[in-house]
């Protein structure tokens, strides 16, 4: 036991309940569990859909290294991108912006021409684009999750408890790219506030949602903190408020393990990431995965309240970022790992990465 941990234990003994970090708030209020996500109609089966973007010509979906366009029952491969394709955004010039892990932001025309747009910022390569938002004047705001890890390695970033993320602005007219804020704990979602004077940014590892005023991005205000899950992409809702994709829930075991550095170091050194104690986007249903007490299958059933290694959660936030309602896929369910949710024309498009599906939820 290190000295730091010893001091922490003494502090915990003297002031019980004062310590933060391992207390995961319960799912209640607008987050009260249900099985709604399990029951929603599916639009298409896509292997590991990462982000969805509705457009006039159809629905763009990133999956693996590819950008697809779904038109009714048809699926067209628009472009292959050479890296894990992540966030999507519609640029002002009609091209589709795609964040590609390890490469940066690329612009894709409707006929499949790929052109790199942003590959580095402030001397560091932009390798972990996690979300994008495009302002009315065409300015692109990008969250760069981490300057160390990208793509599937996000879990390493969590385990290392890094705060290496950045908020980046790209002006397509001048081509200038600037860092608005750095030192963020894996920023994983960004959207513009309705007044277009500020950005809402999710920080996954800090479990919070902050507002960055465009006039003063160095001093963000925290809108909502201590989410019971890891907030991911966020997008505006039609009637005000926002839709938030929570890609995994925090569990007490993971929160505890994160504080046990000797265990984490050894785990990262000797075990494959699939079998770590970690949040995941899908269950592998393998005995090699760590099992928690509540996850034991009893009489053929995994209890819905089982501590979730993976979980499906879409949250509706009001204008103050307070959760008002939510769609869940719980323990024993299949639609886990929601990476994106967007509202368009009275319907909700949900990318369920862990469940290999795109859902269309009537709003």
């Amino acid at each position: 036991m290190s000295a730091v941990e010893g001091i922490r234990l003494v502090r915990e003994f003297l002031f019980p309940g004062r310590h933060t970090g391992t207390a995961v708030p319960p799912l209640d209020g607008g987050l009260t569990p249900n099985d709604a996500l399990e029951q929603q109609p599916e639009l298409a089966e896509v292997a590991e859909p990462e982000d969805v973007l509705p457009s006039t010509s159809g629905l763009y979906v990133t999956s693996g290294n590819n950008l697809f366009l779904l038109q009714g029952r048809q699926r067209r491969l628009v472009a292959e991108l050479g890296g894990d394709a992540g966030p999507l955004a519609a640029a002002q010039d009609g091209r589709i912006l795609v964040g590609v892990a390890g490469i940066g932001i690329v612009a894709v025309t409707t006929d499949g021409q790929v052109e790199p747009l942003v590959t580095e910022v402030a001397g560091d390569p932009l390798r972990c684009p996690t979300a994008m938002a495009v302002a009315a004047d065409g300015t692109v705001y990008v969250t760069d999750g981490s300057i160390r890890h990208h793509g599937q390695d996000w879990v390493r970033d969590l385990m290392e408890r890094n705060r290496l993320g950045r908020l980046v602005r790209h002006d397509p007219r001048t081509g200038a790219t600037t860092v608005l804020a750095d030192g963020l704990a894996y920023p994983s979602g960004v959207t513009l506030a309705p007044e277009a004077d500020s950005l809402l940014v999710c920080e996954a590892w800090a479990h919070r949602l902050s507002r960055f005023a465009l006039s003063d991005p160095a001093r963000p205000t925290v809108l909502r903190e201590n989410f019971p899950g890891y907030p991911g992409r966020i997008s505006p809702a039609a009637n005000g408020g926002y839709w938030l994709a929570v890609f995994a829930l925090r569990t007490q075991l993971v929160e505890f393990v994160l504080t046990q550095r000797d265990y984490v170091d050894e785990m990262m050194r000797t075990i494959e990431p699939d079998y770590w104690i970690r949040p995941a986007l899908r269950g592998l249903n393998s005995g090699l995965e760590p099992l928690q007490g509540g996850q034991i299958r009893k009489l053929g059933v995994v209890k819905p309240w089982a501590p979730p290694r993976s979980y499906g959660l879409v949250v509706r936030l009001d204008e103050c970022a307070q959760p008002v309602s939510s769609l869940h896929s719980r323990g024993g369910g299949a639609r886990h790992g929601v990476t994106s949710v967007r509202e368009s024309e009275g319907r909700l498009l949900v990318a369920v990465r862990g469940g290999d599906r795109v859902l269309e939820v009537p709003a």
Partner: protein, 735 residues
Amino acid sequence: MTASVTSRRPGPRRPPERNVLENETLGTRLHYLRRKIALQQVFAELFEKRWMEPAIPLTLLVGVVVFFSVATPGFATPENLLSSAAELAELSLVCIGMAVVMISGGIDLSVGSMFGLCNILMILLITLGGVPVPLALLLTLFAGAILGGVNGGIVAYLKARPFLTTLVTLIVFRGVLNLLDLNFSAQTATVFVLDPMWEWLGTGKVAGIPFSFVTLVVVLLIGHVLLSRSRIGWHITAVGASRRAARHAGIKVERVLLLCYVISGALCALAGIFYAARLSSASARVGEGLELNVLTAVILGGISLSGGKGTVWRAFIGAATISLLGKGLLLMNVGGEVLQTALAAVLIVAVGLDIKWGKNRGKAIQKTYVNPTLLRYRPAPDVRRGSGSAYEVNDRLLGAEAIGVGEVEGPEDVVLDSQGRLYCGTRQGWILRFSGRDFEHKEIFARIGGHPLGLGFDAEENLVVCVGGMGLYAVSPDGTPRKLSDETNRDWTRLRDDSRLRLADDLDITPDGKIYFSEATTRFGMADWILDGIEGRPNGRLLCYDPATGTTRTVIRDLVFPNGICSCHDGESLLIAQTWLCRILRYYHSGPNKGRLEIFMDNFPGYLDNINRSSDGGYWIALNGMRSPAYDLAMRMPSFRRRMMKRIPRDEWLYPSMNHGCVVKVSEAGDVLDTYWDPGGEAHATITSMREHDGYLYIGGLENNRVGRIKLSGSGAAQVDNRRPQSSARPVSVN
């Protein structure tokens, strides 16, 4: 498969397992040694003892004795101790009386007055009354009992409050005492009693110890037996703990209360007699304020004011502390006012500590009871598809027929009788029997009470069953259960009494009819198996029940979670599955290798459960779950597991991967022949048992809701005798 140990020492064997891999460095070995020692566990088990309850008062008493022995030269001398002993005896007797009343939920403030009254009564009787000493003694004791009876009668039958009642009788008795003193004490001073017995009562010694102290010891012993071992003692405690519950339980509360006060009065009289014999002082001031000293002593001893708790020893410890403290301070020439203050200070501190101790003892035990140790596994065999290992995952159990879906809950073991009927235990404490062509007919064969685990048939077709939490039982063919054994010889190297069976797990019957069975852990109950897993210590044992003598003895102790037991085909040895070690031991109970203990197979990719013979001379082994790399790592980090237990709730703990079990078939030589997996674990998540019968393999699991069966192909289709192995070396095929 080499390490073997032979020993000529009689008594239970210990297995060759320190679980240190070969060729380890000295540092690693020391590391293991450090993890093997469990001081915390010793403390936890020590504090769990009932006799550790008065630890704080006892420590204080020892502290007082040591302090004054060092600080005051005159304290530790024989003369001083002897004179103290006589005084102490009188105080202690009164304290015991008070303690009995307090345990019954009352209080007796009149002890001082009774003491004084009996003192003067005794003197009057033998001086002015001229009554012979033995008769006077009896009369005084009787008088004391009557005085107590007055208290008791008022409290018990008139339902008066003990505090007020005894406060009033304190004044009344003191008044009588004053009257007697006024009228007669002057006359007593002129009479000298020359009775040798009277002399002896006051100054006599038995083996150098004052007679009064010897009497005290006798009273203590009788009091202890009476309070803790007799019906009346239990009644007193019950009345003190909850009067209403005691009444509902049929205890005659009034009579018990009356008796308590009578005892108190009689003991005061006894103390008064000794005081009279020692000092012959017929003063009215005798025993004034004694009730406060006595109350202090009893509370200091840790007897609860609210009743229902306490022993005579605690009363004695309190009295001794008060008495020696007073004596010691006196010897140090401390003034009376300082003495009072010191007494008060000591009392407050001691009582405060004792209350804390009594309140938190259970919590302290709970926090220190589980002591994870270091377990290091070799890298697990790769079970993933395409890995090419012998344990590779396959789909063989996916098509298993289901028997009794939703009707069985937790069939830990399954067994079939000679008519092909299927038996399994359930978590409701039943043994179910399925019969018919497709096992469509279900009936409750027997109701046991605990969770039936391992099953087996003996030669008379009795179903022998290990019942978690209860022991070894046999169910006759008509369904009547009978206890075979629920205890074995105690292991005297362990602090806690482990003679009772806590978790009998699996059994097999050897050709000579002896029933060998495993007790998975002696430290945890059925519901807490995970605590034993987290601990990973050798807490289990192999036992043998001999039907001929009806006795059970421990064959091997200190086994890490022995689970499945299987009598080998040679009829001379047993296989013992050790769940947390993923290792199978082979133990020779007879034959030329008798006493030999060796490792049969090691480093399974999962946690072992039951073992059974197969029809073709091999063995079926159930793995109830897989080893996950994260859990393997946790087993290498004991303090991580300890912190995990403390910091997060049990449902969140990292568990062994119990959702993915399988069945492994191995040869007599210990080579893996086949595996049967249910990859998703949908139907057979945990697999704790399997049984081959008539070409089929039947599968049970502790958390499953069905019994599965699959048809075995080819060589597996032979008949296996589930009852006993053949004595010949080769198995016999019937088909």
